[in-house]
């Protein structure tokens, strides 16, 4: 899931200050789960805007704002309200914002900062475990990703900052390489310690990412 946080109300105020009539867009997927752009948040945004003298001409919670075609279709259903608006305030991840900005000519305002692809620990607590780096090493690291969990993304073992089992960057956090080491020991295998891991192939991560499933062969 994409984890995000709302921009501060001060930033929102700065964003909307030149627009009187606003149309609000939320997202029923990640933004709803992490409480930045679901029904409750869109409603709260509406109240906040109206209190400040703005007019909210309408709102919609898209099923998945990141679905380009579907987002466009759902937004077309609100065509008249969108036409009345001076700008759209979107409470979804950056991907969702761009589905919207692609299908309207009006100014689209992003009300959320997208943080990371997150695992959910419990409600309201998210952890980044995967950086979508395109070059997965998990099979050798006992299922713990050093690219993401090690503050330096090291591939060949811990740095010199390992102290009492903790990470130099966050002493609340156990060193990822220590975890990998311990889990590999438990599994009685050398894993990633058996070889020198070569430098990462960042060409797999050229931006922007694009992927198309080959329907004939499946995703090989």
């Amino acid at each position: 899931m994409i984890i995000g946080t709302q921009k501060s109300r001060e930033e929102w105020a700065e964003l909307v200050k030149d627009y009187h009539a606003l149309f609000l867009v939320g997202c029923g997927a990640c933004a709803t789960v992490c409480k930045v752009g679901g029904e409750d948040e869109v409603f709260a945004a509406q109240e906040w805007l109206e209190e400040r003298g703005h007019e909210v001409v309408g709102s919609v919670i898209l099923d998945e704002a990141c679905h380009i075609m579907r987002a466009a279709r759902e937004l077309r259903r609100c065509k008249h309200q969108v036409e009345e608006a001076d700008a759209l305030l979107v409470l979804s991840c950056g991907a969702g914002v761009q589905s919207i900005s692609d299908c309207v000519d009006k100014r689209v305002l992003a009300g959320v900062n997208s943080l990371f692809l997150g695992n959910i620990r419990r409600f309201g607590e998210y952890e980044e475990r995967c950086s979508l780096c395109g070059d997965c090493i998990l099979n050798e690291t006992a299922g713990i990703c050093p690219v993401t969990n090690c503050a330096k993304g090291l591939l060949n073992g811990p740095c010199g900052g390992l102290e009492d089992g903790h990470c130099e960057v966050d002493e609340q956090k156990e060193c990822t390489w220590l975890k990998i080491h311990e889990r590999l020991e438990k599994q009685q295998r050398q894993g990633v310690f058996d070889r020198t891991v070569q430098p990462k192939d960042w060409s797999r991560k050229y931006k922007p990412g694009k992927h198309k499933i080959d329907r004939g062969r499946g995703d090989k």
């Binding site: 330096k152 060949n156 010199g160 390992l162 130099e168 990462k200």
Partner: protein, 285 residues
Amino acid sequence: MSRLAEKLSQQQFVVTAEIAPPKGVDVGPALAKAELLRDMDAINITDNQGACMRMSPLALAGQLVQHGYQPILQITCRDRNRMALQSDLLGASALGIENLLLLTGDHPKFGDHKASCPVFDLDSVQLLQAVSGLEHGVDMAGKKLSQPPQFFSGAAVAPAAEPQLLTLKKFKKKVACGARFFQTQAVFERTKLESFMAEARLYQVPVILGVLLLKNVRMADFLNRNIPGVQVPQDLLQRLEDAPDSLQEGVAIAREMVALAREFCQGVHLMTFGHEDLIPQILAG
């Protein structure tokens, strides 16, 4: 072969120290400090140490070479990607720099540019490998060099870090990837050094022990709280606390560490923080 390499290959005990490049463009004070360190076998030039932006160590090391000193150029993976690292390495060779200390680097979180991108395109093991490649006339893309550089590459190790087994796993990788000497993080405990060296010795790569001059108990506390990988044990804190002259006690402790180095290692790397005048005392005995 660098003078440092030669001495180490002859099993001689070496002494190194370090200089941080200036935060500014005047290299005068750094050269003056190098003069104070003239008797050292080599002088490390730190690379944006503690993730604080300073002059390029490449530039200062180049100046040191010109003035007849023997620098060890420290290169970290924090600030440059593999292209920049390799081009700096070629530049270093062109400037007559022979000794390298190849490091991961402290995280920007510790420094004065906390918002900068932590690069870490390579880790220290891969950087060692890249240097070996260049020495064999090929860059990381497999392209041939017109004239390959020759270096004496070192790496860092923290013998006191636990679990030692994990530290040794990385140590082993560094040796396999071309580390020809090690400089250690400051160590204050005999038992840890002893057990580390019992294993490390098998790889037959010279280890130069980091010896840090503790000026007083405040400094020791600071190190314990803020410097990754450095732990001053309780009994030494007590000694510094009780001593009538804590700096002299610090010198005594450093002297004990030098004695340990003579027993287990092949040199010392002195970190004296402005007290270069005390080096003869630290090395005495």
